[in-house]
């Protein structure tokens, strides 16, 4: 007991046993079938970013169709609906979920908690390979007869499995199977993230000393483990309806004049299952982004995150509340209208912990020492877009206000701003921030600045005006806006403007890709801790961190991750593994 260090509050901390690592024996087990969370993180990230580029190109095609209807002969209505479906599903599940949890989760959880690796490295490896298999099945649906499904990413039955929707033959089956494989893969990864956070922390790393990044990823992983099963059973049931003739979601219906042999099922049951997954999914993407952006702001403003404990409780509260708000996606679905009172109330209550997070981000800037580095720029832009998208959520969440706006372009603009643009800006900021740790080199600043300005301003100019198309009454998921007396001719010009901005923003991502590749070789050497940050991933024995992350001894943690500009400290940051300084007051911070 003698050498057990005391926490800052004077509480003795539990001993953590060192784990036995799997040591790769060949190139194949080192780089391909790797069990090292850092390699798996890179595998996840590269795969997800590549899918992101594909999804981006799909969005180009759909925007071209909206701006210049019929100009591209290969985009007929079938193709258009296939494009929007694949774009949506790829971005929500295969890019954002995979990148935040599989990518950042794998890289940062062990490093930030002072662990040598995830607690189940083999399952962690399998998690990636299941993910890759899910991706292969998803992309294979482009090649099957009839092409991928065009049911919209929400896959609402009966439409998703009846005539009139493309991909009826194979596409929908491939989509459902791919989702099921993804969920199996995610479960293996997710259990890893949760157990590692609970069991794998180094000495002194209490839960309330964890960086908010880990809190965000941890809470999101717990939520995903609870939410994805709803999608899984929904997918199984729909697969049965489609292939075995069951009627879980299928009432008595007519398909192009012919009575189908279904009856007694409920299409709305699928919507409940889908959104029981789908709404937590929004926060599964948002919470890691919340956590990461908190750390980016704190490091680059050289100031402790303001209200750490409130931030943690806000993350937990949002995670819990997000399971009782799902039917706000269904106010006009035809469900019992009295549900509206309950779900509008819960939905607007969730705005309170979310607002607290925003206040604490901007209050961290207050009296800071703000360095406008590339990650900081992205973090600031995240606040702008997230506040914008979050506030329009108050329109859609407030049941009766949702009535005229639901299923219009307002919804498209809202969710792109809040769960598309905002989290992706965080992803970019995080990559600029942690790339030096992953590769040992800094990304180019001029290229990063160019990438930032075009992406932020371009994306804002795409999605801010789009709200007004919806307010005007343009429905979403229209192959072409068409002519209606209430649409002024200028609405078509706005559509063209949005498309031009989308092409520009998309093209600017080439600068980012080029930066990622070019800087691998030519970037400025970063050293171990280029941002002078407190958290443990910057205190590794070498950069990039070796197998096992830390040297012979695991670091011991004496303080939280936000000791920036502590009065009396010699430097403007104190690493988490720095023992208390002479004369430092023990109980001033968590």
């Amino acid at each position: 007991m003698v050498d057990v260090p005391l926490g800052v509050a004077g509480v003795p901390l539990a001993e953590v046993e060192d784990v036995e690592l799997y040591h790769p024996k060949s190139w194949l087990t080192h780089y391909v079938f790797s069990q090292d969370a850092k390699i798996i993180a890179v595998q996840y990230s590269v795969t997800a970013l590549s899918i992101g580029l594909v999804a981006l190109m799909l969005s180009w095609l759909m925007r071209l169709q909206l701006a210049f209807p019929g100009a591209l002969s290969f985009i007929d209505a079938d193709a258009y609906y296939q494009l929007i479906t694949m774009h949506g599903m790829m971005m929500v599940v295969y890019v954002l979920t995979a990148l935040f949890l599989g990518g950042f989760g794998n890289y940062l959880i062990p490093l930030m908690l002072g662990a040598r690796d995830m607690v189940f490295p083999y399952a962690n490896m399998l998690s990636f390979w299941f993910y890759l298999l899910a991706v292969v099945v998803l992309f294979a649906s482009f090649a099957v007869p009839g092409g991928p499904t065009g049911a919209g990413w929400t896959l609402y039955p009966p439409q998703s499995i009846t005539a009139g929707t493309p991909g009826l033959a194979w596409g929908i089956v491939m989509m459902l199977v791919s989702l099921m494989i993804f969920i199996i893969g995610f479960t293996m990864g997710g259990l890893n993230y949760v157990v590692t956070v609970l069991q794998g922390r180094t000495r002194g790393m209490t839960l309330m000393r964890m960086p908010l990044t880990v809190w965000g990823i941890f809470t999101a992983s717990v939520m995903a483990l609870l939410a994805f099963p709803a999608l899984f059973v929904g997918a199984v049931m729909m697969l049965f309806d489609r292939l075995l003739g069951t009627s879980f979601f299928m009432p008595e219906i007519i398909e192009q004049g012919a009575r189908l042999p279904y009856g007694g099922g409920s299409p709305i049951l699928f919507q409940h299952l889908f959104w029981f997954f789908g709404h937590p999914e929004v926060y599964i993407v948002a919470l890691p982004a919340f956590g990461i952006v908190s750390d980016l702001i704190s490091v680059h403003a050289r100031r402790n995150i303001f209200g750490y404990r409130m931030m943690v409780w806000a993350i937990v509260a949002i995670g819990a509340l997000s399971f009782v708000v799902w039917a706000h996606h269904m106010y006009v679905s035809g469900m019992n209208p009295y549900f509206g009172f309950f779900f509008a109330t819960t939905t607007l209550i969730i705005a309170i912990p979310t607002a607290i997070k925003v206040y604490n981000w901007v209050l961290t800037l207050w009296r800071g020492d703000i360095h406008l580095t590339t990650p900081m720029l992205f973090a600031l832009a995240f606040i702008v877009t997230f506040v914008n998208g979050g506030l329009t959520g108050l329109f859609l969440g407030n049941v009766v206000v949702d009535v005229p706006l639901s299923d219009t372009m307002f919804v498209v603009a809202h969710f792109h701003m809040v769960m598309g643009v905002a989290p992706i800006l965080v992803i970019f900021g995080a990559i600029y921030h942690w790339y030096p740790k992953v590769t040992g080199r800094l990304l180019s600043v001029p290229l990063g600045q160019f990438h930032f300005w075009v992406t932020f301003l371009g994306a804002y100019l795409i999605f801010f005006p789009m709200h007004y198309l919806g307010l005007m009454g343009v429905p979403r998921r229209y192959y072409e806006m068409g002519e209606t007396a209430i649409y002024p001719p200028s609405a078509h010009d706005l559509n063209i403007f949005i498309t031009v901005m989308a092409l520009l923003v998309g093209a600017a991502q080439l600068a980012f890709v080029f930066n990622l590749i070019w800087s691998l070789r030519h970037g400025r050497p970063a050293g171990g801790n280029p941002w002078r940050a407190c958290s443990l991933e910057w205190q590794t024995s070498a950069t990039p961190p070796p197998h096992g992350n830390f040297g012979k001894e695991l670091p011991v943690v004496y303080r939280w991750a936000y000791d920036y500009n502590v009065p009396g400290a010699p430097e403007d940051f104190i690493p988490q593994n720095q023992p208390p300084l002479a004369g430092e007051i023990a109980s001033r911070a968590p």
């Binding site: 009846t162 299409p267 925003v358």
Partner: protein, 277 residues
Amino acid sequence: MHVVLVLVVVAVGSVLFHFLSPWWWTPIASNWQYIDDTIIITFWITGVVFVAVLLFMAYCVWRFRHREGHRAAFEPENRRLETGLTVITGLGVAAMLAPGLFVWNHFITVPPDASAIEIVGQQWQWSFRLPGQDGKLGKTRVDSITDDNPLGLDKNDPDGRDDVVLQGEDLHLPIGKPIKVLLRSTDVLHDFYVPEFRAKMDILPGSSTYFWLTPTRTGTFDILCAELCGTGHPYMRGSVVVEEQVAYDAWLDGQQRRMLAQQDGPTRQKGEVKAQQ
């Protein structure tokens, strides 16, 4: 300090865009002015928050930018400030939620004197059914649907005998009378959406949904489908004509006579044959 400038431009520009852009909702033609009012309240509250947050950020970035020798303050928490902000946010949320729930209650409470009409969505066209003289809509069954009975009216239900079925024609509504719109689909999901009415509702196969409205402005309005229903979704259009009671009565009378002529045509011929025998 271009970051500061951009933050200010985004805040001010968004507000200017809101007030100056030509893209705004179309003038309302129903009693749901309450919904528009609630949206306006929400715009004001959220607009103030958006501008305040952005301008505060801009001020921080300018005032606390990194300079040589400048140090950040160390302040982990401030209970009073955090509690105060939470309370203010709670009040703002309540100010939006209360009118929202109030109007929602109104929205789902159909007035007892509302007259019912039925709107049927089918890939990819709108059909309508109005009750005849008896004021009642007859029963329908999916299994009764045939080419000459596209809405599946139950022929044995006397209430349905005089129902007026409209396919490929405009729907007419009288101004100033509350209407309960019953919605039905025989294939996939649809959504009856007339932007001028503000109210809309999904249409489900297998069950019936509803909403109500009182038209308040005469004119011809486009009907759109607002729930993805397959590749014909954007082309599923129709028209609704809101007119004065006199014009509406004349139109309805004509439709009823047409229906009776269609229905009675074959039976009367049969009767005549019998009489001759």
